[in-house]
């Protein structure tokens, strides 16, 4: 004990209702700790330690029994470490003289045998008791919050977040990798269940974001690197060369009109339409400035053309423009990077890519969209024939363990919307092949009833295949949907002219890499992990990094907008507070022991280590250090200590564990 006093430790074992007590003999663990472990003055168990009564129990013992150390065996420190540190602090004990053993996540939830679970709980408690005796009082580090915010992804969630923060008076950098903001929502025709035009409700928001005095729009740009910590991030952003000088460009569109090179637009038109080599993705694009697609531009590929340059009335085309690297300092980051559509070619038996008149959901959106390649006419791929019958296949790539086991949440309503649009535009007979219909939000089920009443045929069954191999004369020249109608108990072969595959949502292809840049992780399915699935859905385990929209998990437009606003509210809360206290868990270099070997210098993921040339030793910047411990483990001289994770503490914890296990 550094303060010279003998340790007086209180041990508290939580029942967590029956979560822990159901598997661990909590009374026995508490009794045993009080009687057998060195330094333990009192061992208690209680139904819910995190309740105010439970916390008061600890506070009272600190006063009455003169405790100078506390151990709680309960859930995970992720959940309640802060709670119990608070209880210690209120009773006048430094919160770092506390240690928490996870008896729920690490014991009761993963053990079946009561005797084994109780033994393991004892071992973990002993580890904590031995360790806490070596803990030192620490003071938190207070840092200022830079009020600027970086929002990554300019879909509806990112736009909403950016506008909320900008309207509150703080500066936002809104980054999107596409030439325009708008995201997937800009591609859609109508939005369910109200059927208002997607572009009509989105473009005002896009326009506000584009003209807001507090928003710096960085489109056609990628965040490459992020350093720092909550309140003080530095982000490096690559502004890809548009090959267009935006200070001269008026967005008149002459370059697009004159460009002789037409290419299939795989992004905005979902492969169903064309764009030029110099282009804005759509007429309402924000910003209005086009970009030159170097991969397809005749001048860049063959060395001559320059038609756009010739016709540009303001001389804004700059073929020699290079990528720019920008550095911005921000206090918080909101990631709203969205999703990729499931690639339906991965289910070859559904025929997409093989059979001309099988369409994906996004292709159909473009087909139905008045500004799409057919001006909103629902026709077959020949561009003229109006379908007489259409089948819509639900759950393509979702709720299927061969692809994604999760439900993509939007496909049912989207498919119902398609059924309505096909009815309205073509009068065709529509079949919806579904597994279950899921319409659980406001006015959604009413929309389902409406589509039912319109005469859409609902077939409950997962489609086995879509084929053009006719068996009987009525099937000739049609696409045949083979499906088991599970309500009737019969196989059905439904001949139709057009099939729409309601493809699910998938995490962005680069989600893992993006997560690495920002220091957050992805779930097994690839979605960004929130701090708590119910109670903290937009924060992440990394302070100052928030998530919103589909990058966190499949959701529709209303939910994405809500999350965008929620993330903004969380960020504004931090900005208003102005400063934040950080865990004092940091690495320190003992400069007398440092040999100046510089092994640690390049290992630090947070660039917190600098080498002082004149003294020949290494120093760690406590504001940048995140306490990960990499340098501590690497130092050959043992000169680096991890505060709160010193060798003495870790070895004491191991001794404690082994004292029971042995």
């Amino acid at each position: 004990m550094s303060d010279g006093k003998e340790p007086r430790i209180g041990v508290y074992i939580c029942h967590c209702g029956s979560n822990i007590a159901g598997t661990v003999d909590v009374e026995e663990v508490a009794r045993w700790a009080g009687e057998h472990l060195p330094g333990v003055v009192v061992g208690r168990d209680y139904k819910f330690m995190c309740s105010s009564l439970g916390q008061e129990l600890i506070e009272k013992d600190i006063h009455d029994l003169d405790l100078n150390r506390v151990v709680v065996g309960a859930c995970s420190p992720h959940l309640h470490e802060a709670t119990f540190r608070g209880a210690c602090q209120r009773a006048g004990l430094n919160p770092f003289l506390f240690d928490m053993a996870s008896l729920r996540e690490q014991v009761s939830w993963v053990c079946a045998d009561r005797a084994v679970a109780t033994e393991k709980a004892k071992a973990l408690i002993a580890g904590s008791v031995y360790r806490v005796a070596q803990n030192e009082p620490l003071e938190p580090i207070i840092v200022d919050i830079n009020p600027n915010v970086l929002v990554v992804g300019g879909g509806v969630a990112g736009i909403q977040a950016a506008l909320e923060i900008a309207d509150a008076g703080y500066h936002v950098y809104l980054v999107d990798r596409e030439p325009s903001i708008g995201g997937h929502m800009a591609q859609l025709d109508k939005t369910f269940p109200t059927l208002d035009c997607s572009a009509c409700i989105l473009t005002p928001k896009m326009f506000s974001a584009g003209t807001h005095k507090n928003i710096t729009l960085l489109t056609y740009a990628d965040v490459e690197k992020v350093d720092g910590f909550v309140g003080n991030f530095t982000a490096q952003i690559r502004q890809h060369a548009r090959k267009v000088d935006v200070s001269l460009c008026t967005g008149c569109g002459v370059c697009q009109e004159k460009c002789p090179k037409k290419v299939i637009d795989d992004v905005f038109e979902a492969g169903l339409g064309y764009r030029k080599a110099v282009y804005t993705p759509f007429p309402q694009a924000v910003p209005k400035y086009p970009v030159i697609d170097v991969q397809n531009c005749t001048y860049f590929q063959k060395g001559s053309c320059k038609v756009c340059e010739k016709f540009c009335p303001t001389g804004a085309i700059k073929f020699d423009q290079q990528d720019e690297l920008l550095t911005v300092n921000v206090g918080n980051v909101i990631l709203a990077t969205g999703y990729d559509l499931f690639d339906s070619r991965r289910i070859p038996q559904y025929g997409y890519g093989r059979l001309a008149n099988v369409f994906t959901s996004m292709e159909f959106e473009r087909l139905a969209n008045a500004s799409g390649p057919t001006n909103g006419k629902v026709v077959l791929r020949d561009g003229v024939t109006v379908p007489q019958s259409v089948a819509i296949v639900h759950c393509v790539g979702s709720r299927d363990r061969n692809y994604n086991s999760y439900c993509s949440a939007i496909c049912c309503m989207q498919s119902l919307k398609f059924a309505h649009l096909v009815h309205e535009r073509t009068g065709a007979r529509v079949y919806n092949c579904y597994i279950d219909i899921r319409t659980p939000a406001k006015s959604y089920d009413e929309f389902y009833q409406r589509v039912l009443e319109e005469g859409t045929v609902f077939v409950r069954g997962k489609v086995a295949e879509v084929t053009d191999a006719a068996r009987v004369p009525g099937e000739e020249g049609k696409l045949i949907v083979q499906v088991e109608d599970t309500l009737v108990g019969h196989q059905r072969r439904i001949p139709v002219d057009m099939v729409i595959l309601s493809a699910g949502m998938e995490p962005r292809a680069g989600a893992k890499e993006v997560g690495k840049i920002f220091g957050i992780s992805c779930s097994m399915d690839g979605w960004f992990i929130e701090r708590h699935p119910k109670l903290d859905p937009v924060a992440t385990m990394t302070e100052g990094i928030f998530i919103a929209g589909v990058c966190q998990g499949p959701k529709d437009i209303p939910a994405s907008v809500s999350q965008g606003a929620a993330a903004a509210a969380r960020v504004l809360g931090l900005i208003c507070r102005g400063r934040i206290s950080l865990e004092p868990v940091r690495a320190q270099v003992n400069q007398d022991q440092c040999s100046g070997c510089r092994i640690c210098n390049n290992l630090c993921p947070f660039n917190a280590i600098t080498f002082i040339e004149e003294r020949g030793v290494t120093e760690i910047n406590p504001a940048l250090c995140q306490g990960c411990g990499t340098c501590v483990a690497a130092c050959p001289a043992g000169a680096i200590t991890g505060t709160h994770f010193s060798n003495t503490q870790v070895l004491a914890q191991i001794d404690g564990l082994l004292s029971v296990m042995a």
């Binding site: 299939i264 492969g271 289910i347 070859p348 038996q349 025929g351 093989r354 059979l355 001309a356 008149n357 077959l380 791929r381 020949d382 024939t385 295949e465 084929t467 053009d468 191999a469 006719a470 068996r471 000739e476 020249g477 696409l479």
Partner: protein, 339 residues
């Protein structure tokens, strides 16, 4: 590359062409085939549903015999043999009690087998994985240019969990790729994994014929010159019952059926005779003519009279119909937009 070789009963009789063509292409592909000594019937598709333990013991005997070659991989070109041998091997790994019972049976013949000792491979898997499409293509001396083929996998090797060449069991492509490597024009055959009926013609003629009709009609709709298969059962149904099916439905399809090994041999410049062409009931003559190969004239001794009668009965329209189909899109759908 050296493998044990399990021909199976079919390859000695109705699928003799599969056997001779497999052996003929093995050399050029660098495959050395060592036939399993004293092998027996795999029980085909029936026995296993009548008496599972006895059927598996019959199969296990072949696995035990194969170990005598000292090779850890065995090729079974017949899809039914392949499936039975793989199943039995897997069951003996996953169900120790069964393995014990089977070994008791094997012990009566002085044999034993430990599950997992022999890796059972289908010939198509060996050619795609071990030989590789590049090597295959490099041996082609007579590309099958202008020949429109429907790749037909059947249902036995396209079952989930068999892991043939990383197959997608719903829509495999390895045979498509092999035939493309040979220079043939490969039809995107939507019925590629559908059932040929197995022995259904013996149980319910109308059901069996309907399954055959769907496949033959499908290939014909796609203007395929021939159906290429990997399975003796499929070959038997589509070839031997094609005329019976025609009589039943009053149709007149004449789509020849060949083994993929025969096609490989043709592309390697081997003669149709060497590869066993001319032994099937639906004549491959018109199809072979497209690549300048003649069908062996009236077959040797025993079958002479029979074949002659068959030759007479073949209607002339077939070659014309096949020839006309050459340029068609063969899709029956709107034109694909090229991406």
């Amino acid at each position: 590359m050296k493998y044990s070789y399990f021909p199976g009963c079919s390859l000695e009789h109705n699928a003799e062409a599969y056997d001779s063509s497999s052996r003929a292409i093995a050399g050029p592909l660098g495959l050395e085939l060592v036939e399993v000594d004293d092998w027996n019937c795999c029980g085909a598709t029936e026995y296993i549903s009548l008496n599972m333990t006895a059927a598996l013991a019959l199969i296990a005997r072949n696995l035990a015999q194969a170990t005598k070659n000292g090779l850890d991989q065995m090729i079974a070109p017949c899809s039914a043999c392949y499936l039975n041998l793989s199943k039995c091997d897997r069951y003996m790994v996953t169900t120790p009690e069964l393995a014990e019972r089977l070994n008791t049976a094997l012990a009566a013949g002085g044999l034993s087998y430990q599950g997992g000792t022999i890796k059972v491979r289908h010939l198509i898997d060996v050619i795609t994985e071990d030989v590789g499409l590049k090597t295959l293509a490099s041996k082609v001396t007579r590309p099958l240019k202008g020949l429109r083929v429907a790749p037909y996998y059947g249902c036995l090797i396209s079952r989930p969990g068999l892991r043939i060449s990383e197959h997608n069991p719903e829509y495999p492509v390895s045979l498509d790729e092999i035939l493309e490597a040979l220079g043939a024009e490969v039809v995107d055959f939507p019925l590629k994994t559908h059932c040929c009926g197995g022995h259904m013609t013996q149980i319910s003629e109308s059901t069996g014929f309907d399954l055959i009709r769907q496949l033959v009609k499908g290939a014909s709709d796609y203007q395929a010159d021939m159906i290429v298969t990997v399975c003796p059962m499929c070959h038997l149904n589509l070839d031997a019952f094609q005329n019976g099916m025609n009589n039943f439905f009053k149709t007149n399809y004449q789509v020849p059926v060949a083994y993929f090994t025969q096609m490989i041999g043709l592309a390697f410049g081997m003669s149709a005779r060497q590869l066993g062409f001319g032994t099937s009931l639906v004549s491959a003559g018109p199809a072979l003519a497209k690549i300048g190969e003649e069908l062996p004239a009236a077959a040797p001794a025993a079958g002479a009279t029979k074949r002659k009668r068959d030759d007479k009965s073949l209607p002339m329209p077939t070659p014309l119909a096949a020839g006309q189909g050459k340029g068609g899109s063969g899709k029956g759908q709107g034109q694909e937009v090229s991406r």
